[in-house]
């Protein structure tokens, strides 16, 4: 090439790299794992995913204290709750102690005549009052008389108790030393809500750090050095996952770079060749990040993890370039024969990765774009820029003996074709025998949470009496009031179903905050003060109550008659506000009331009772989650098949011969089958990410099998070709293999699958090619 042309190429390259680097530098990086939870199809499923990631549920942190004797745990729980209550990062702290419940109790007491469902005209009629007073007399005989006689003058009808019972079902956590404890009594429990949303990982991380230091201070103050703080919850998991990803991505990328560099140095014995080999990779990675940033607005940490894999494939092009140049010889001949095959290899990889771009998983779509742009850029740099940087007669003398050894092995590889056939047949037999248990059908398999953390989370949830809800009724309406009224209507139905024994109970936002209409109805049920006094006097006739004892009641009930209605704002600062927020949700298109059901025994009766109600939906969360996962897997399977089909078509079209295409695809098919069998051999099940990995095996593996195809192989210098193939494959296996060490399931599943599959593709390609060569 002429000097002017050379300079032009270099200027264009440097300009592009600089532009991409600028974009990449200014890109925002996220690690929100919801990118790997797909956008969901149905409205109810979208609500589900949305709530999981930003709703009040996502802001809950379950805290456990253990490691010291129970009385000390109780004291620590109090001390920690006291400190956290003053931290601005936390909206709500509860450890079950009476002190924490005071605000709730005061609220209930103050508004009892608007909140209690007992406030009806019958209650304030003579018979109702008489019944209430007789009941009071019974209670005075009980061991609770000290408490009863205190509340009696202001609340003889027991509305405070009634509104309290409504909100505190019996299934609360157990208490020791005045605070919540685990069932086995070894762990004090607290429930904390952060002010920031669960997906705001920076804020969650800050809140957790505050909590740790508050705990340390409390433990130091109480001299409880052995006490341990355990935290769990969506935000905690997100913070841990981010730390894992950050650490993994940096570590794995560096490690892959190091290992590949050492390998290349050993083979090339030329630092200059090493630097030149890494140039396309660096350019490709920069371009990939820039493209993702421009297309998605931010770059996911997991996407960066794929830098390591890009390294594996991106070095290939330079390896072909260098190993196929013989020092001192004319560089053109050998290379000219390699490029068309290499180009086809890049295209098959690109087709494989592009299937990912249609995924509903934002994260997978990013991986696809990153890899496509990165590969094309690396290829272009290797093809057009590297030759300009390499001196005319530069070449590497690869480690002597490596080429001949590979050639020797390749020439005898055909001997393995019978074992290969047996292996494939065994794999098919194994896979068909396990067809039922091959797939992991649980949505949780997508979760980045470690098994041990998950178990602790479940245990703490069970102890806190907050087990996972399976059935949920959702009522949607245009306004807050309409949603509350809908919840009241559904609640009446549910109460009816409960009396039939089909369910144990339910929560409702309307039990915490009745609709305005319901509150007005209650106000209307209260008689005039004078009427009430007269009825009370009659009702108390012949009962031993002191006269005028109930004057505070008459005063307060009359005040409630004209009091302003209770609104959501009045709940501020109480634990009830947190619960209301989690059950009554403002959405862009209206309001949604959620009524979680406890212990549904007969879903049929339930569904029948709710049928026909407008804007009301019964959600089976487990059913929905399973359906969601199956739909994700169906989509992944579809994408994988379309991707593999596109690769086959591409090969067919460019090789212009079904036989040649078949020669390329046959070893790949064998590799995919055996990889599946190996992955499941240990009893492991395959998930969505393994499926994606298999598609990549086809896309990446074709790079090797293409070269073994008879006509291509015949045109090249076999020793040098085999050496480049071995080096390329080794770097790919290193890149993806190291990725399998990552803790994020998406990275490790794809890494393992591709590392195994890519190696098998090369091996099987050699075995099947050898048959034809000899």
């Amino acid at each position: 090439m002429k000097r002017g042309g050379r300079i032009a190429v270099l200027v264009v390259w440097l300009g592009c790299v600089a532009a991409c680097a600028w974009v990449a530098w200014h890109a925002s990086y996220t690690t929100d794992l919801s990118a790997f939870l797909p956008r969901s199809p149905s409205v109810s499923q979208r609500i589900l995913v949305e709530q999981l990631h930003q709703g009040v549920v996502s802001r809950l942190i379950l805290v456990g204290i253990e490691g010291v004797p129970p009385p000390a745990l109780g004291a620590l729980s109090e001390a920690l709750a006291e400190r956290l209550a003053h931290e601005p990062d936390f909206a709500y702290v509860n450890n079950g102690s009476q002190a924490r419940l005071t605000a709730d109790g005061e609220f209930l007491m103050q508004h009892r005549y608007l909140l209690s469902p007992g406030v009806t005209p019958e209650r304030f009629a003579l018979a109702g009052l008489r019944e209430a007073l007789e009941n009071d007399l019974d209670l005075l005989g009980s061991p609770f008389s000290a408490l009863v006689s205190r509340l009696l003058p202001a609340d003889p009808t027991g509305e405070f108790q009634r509104s309290l019972e409504l909100l505190e079902p019996d299934a609360g956590p157990r208490k020791n030393h005045g605070v919540w404890f685990s069932a086995d009594g070894t762990r004090a429990l607290l429930l904390v809500q952060t002010r920031a949303a669960g997906f705001d990982i920076d804020a969650q991380e800050r809140a957790l750090a505050r909590m740790r230091s508050a705990f340390d201070a409390a433990a130091a103050e109480r001299g409880a050095a052995g006490a341990l703080l355990q935290v769990t919850g969506p935000g905690v998991f997100a913070v841990a996952a981010r730390a894992d990803i950050k650490q993994d991505v940096a570590r794995i990328s560096l490690l892959a770079l190091l290992v590949v560099s050492i390998m290349l140095l050993l083979v090339y014995r030329s630092p200059r060749a090493l630097v030149l080999t890494l140039l396309p990779v660096a350019s490709g990675a920069t371009a990939g990040v820039a493209a993702v940033s421009l297309a998605f607005g931010s770059v996911h940490g997991v996407t960066l993890g794929f830098g390591a894999t890009l390294l594996g494939e991106g070095v290939d092009y330079a390896i072909y370039l260098f190993t196929n140049r013989i020092p001192g010889s004319e560089p053109g001949r050998n290379l000219a024969r390699v490029w068309p095959t290499l180009t086809l290899g890049v295209l098959t990889s690109v087709v494989g990765f592009s299937a990912l771009m249609f995924s509903d998983f934002t994260g997978l779509a990013q991986l696809g774009l990153f890899s496509i742009v990165g590969l094309i850029a690396a290829y272009a740099v290797a093809r057009f820029v590297l030759p300009q940087l390499v001196p005319q007669h530069f070449g590497v003398r690869p480690l002597a003996g490596l080429g001949p050894a590979l050639a020797w092995a390749a020439s005898r590889a055909w001997l393995l074709r019978i074992p290969l056939l047996v292996l494939v047949l065994l794999s098919v037999a194994w896979l068909t025998s396990r067809s039922g248990g091959l797939w992991d059908d649980r949505l949780e398999s997508l979760s980045p949470v470690a098994e041990s953390d998950k178990r602790r989370d479940e245990a703490m949830r069970r102890d806190l009496g907050a087990p996972d809800v399976r059935y949920l009724v959702i009522a949607t309406a245009a306004t807050e009031q309409a949603a509350l009224q809908a919840a009241e209507a559904v609640g009446a139905e549910l109460e009816h179903v409960r009396q039939l024994g089909a369910l144990d109970g339910f929560e409702s936002p309307a039990l915490i905050l009745p609709s305005d209409a319901k509150q007005r109805e209650r106000q209307a049920a209260i008689p005039e003060p004078d009427v009430l006094r007269e009825r009370l006097e009659q009702a108390a006739d012949r009962l031993p109550f002191r006269s005028e004892l109930f004057e505070p009641f008459v005063q307060e009930v009359s005040a409630a008659r004209q009091a302003p209605l209770v609104s959501a704002g009045d709940l501020k600062g109480t634990g009830l506000a947190v619960r209301l927020e989690s059950l009554l949700i403002a959405r862009p298109d209206g309001w949604m009331a959620m009524l979680p059901l406890r212990e549904v025994r007969d879903a049929g009766v339930l569904a029948a009772a709710l049928r026909g109600a407008n804007g009301v939906e019964l959600l089976d969360l487990k059913g929905e989650a399973d359906a969601l996962y199956r739909s994700y897997r169906g989509q992944a399977l579809g994408l994988a098949l379309v991707g593999a089909g596109a690769i086959a078509l591409l090969l067919l079209g460019s090789l212009r011969s079904p036989r040649r295409a078949a020669e390329v695809l046959l070893p790949l098919a064998a590799a995919v089958l055996v990889t599946c069998a190996l992955l499941t051999a240990g009893g492991r099940q395959l998930g969505i990410f393994h499926l994606v990995g298999l598609l990549l095996v086809v896309g990446v593996g074709s790079n090797y099998t293409l070269f073994f195809e008879r006509e291509t192989f015949g045109r090249t210098d076999p020793q040098r070709m085999l050496l480049s193939l071995a080096l390329c494959n080794a770097s790919t296996v290193i890149g993806f293999g190291l990725l399998s060490l990552a803790r994020a399931p998406v990275l490790s599943a794809i890494g393992t699958t591709v590392a195994v599959g890519a190696f098998l593709s090369l091996l099987f390609g050699a075995i099947l090619a050898a048959r034809r060569r000899t």
Binding site: N135, G141, S142, S145, A146, S149, P153, R174, H177, P544
Partner: protein
């Protein structure tokens, strides 16, 4: 706090004097130790099973006349105690280990409470149960304990240690003699009080 501790100090100082006044004390003195809390507890703890009738009068400020309840009591060592109210409304309270079961047939309700979750209720239950059991350590966990009198006639006064409990209950006075409890008086902080008289063993 200060007043109570002074009180218990005074009570403690009075005990030997009261003992000396009792003729039985002379008998006891022949033993290695003088009669006191420890001996009383040993005596009470010997009883494995007991049953009695009771009459309870509650003097409440909200009522013009005292409330009277009657029924039976049953104790099985070491941890089971049943108070069965027959009049005016049947109600059964059963304490077993750390569980309190309240059964009110009239209201068709049965509730189970864990004492650990209701410290005040727990302390209240232990005033009675630990005394029957002769468990001084348990009593002293909840109360400052003082004893007056001798084996024939004694009075235990229990002052709650927990400030939360003392806002409800000022003191509990348990009278007895000859290894039996005869009367329990609960003085509430608000001025209400209840007196339970334990009558001879039920047939």
């Amino acid at each position: 706090m200060r007043r109570s501790s002074v009180l218990s100090w005074v009570l403690a100082a009075l005990v030997p004097a009261a003992l000396a006044a009792e003729p039985e004390a002379v008998e006891q003195q022949s033993l290695a130790q003088p009669w006191g809390l420890e001996q009383l507890m040993v005596e009470l703890g010997r009883v494995q099973h007991s049953q009695a009738r009771f009459v309870e009068r509650k003097y409440l400020k909200v009522l013009k006349t005292p409330l009277e309840l009657t029924g039976t009591l049953a104790y099985d060592a070491p941890n089971r105690l049943v108070k069965r109210t027959l009049e005016p409304k049947p109600e059964t309270l059963t304490v077993e280990d750390d569980r309190l079961v309240i059964e009110s047939p009239a209201r068709g309700r049965s509730r189970t409470l864990r004492l650990g979750e209701y410290p005040v209720l727990w302390a209240f239950v232990e005033s009675f149960r630990s005394t029957l059991k002769g468990d001084l350590a348990a009593l002293e966990r909840f109360y400052r304990v003082a004893l007056e009198g001798g084996p024939q006639r004694w009075q235990l006064s229990l002052m709650p240690r927990d400030p939360k409990m003392s806002t409800l209950i000022e003191s509990i006075l348990i009278d007895g003699g000859k290894g039996r409890i005869r009367r329990i008086e609960v003085r509430e902080a608000q001025g209400d009080r209840s007196v339970m008289t334990v009558l001879e063993d039920a047939p």
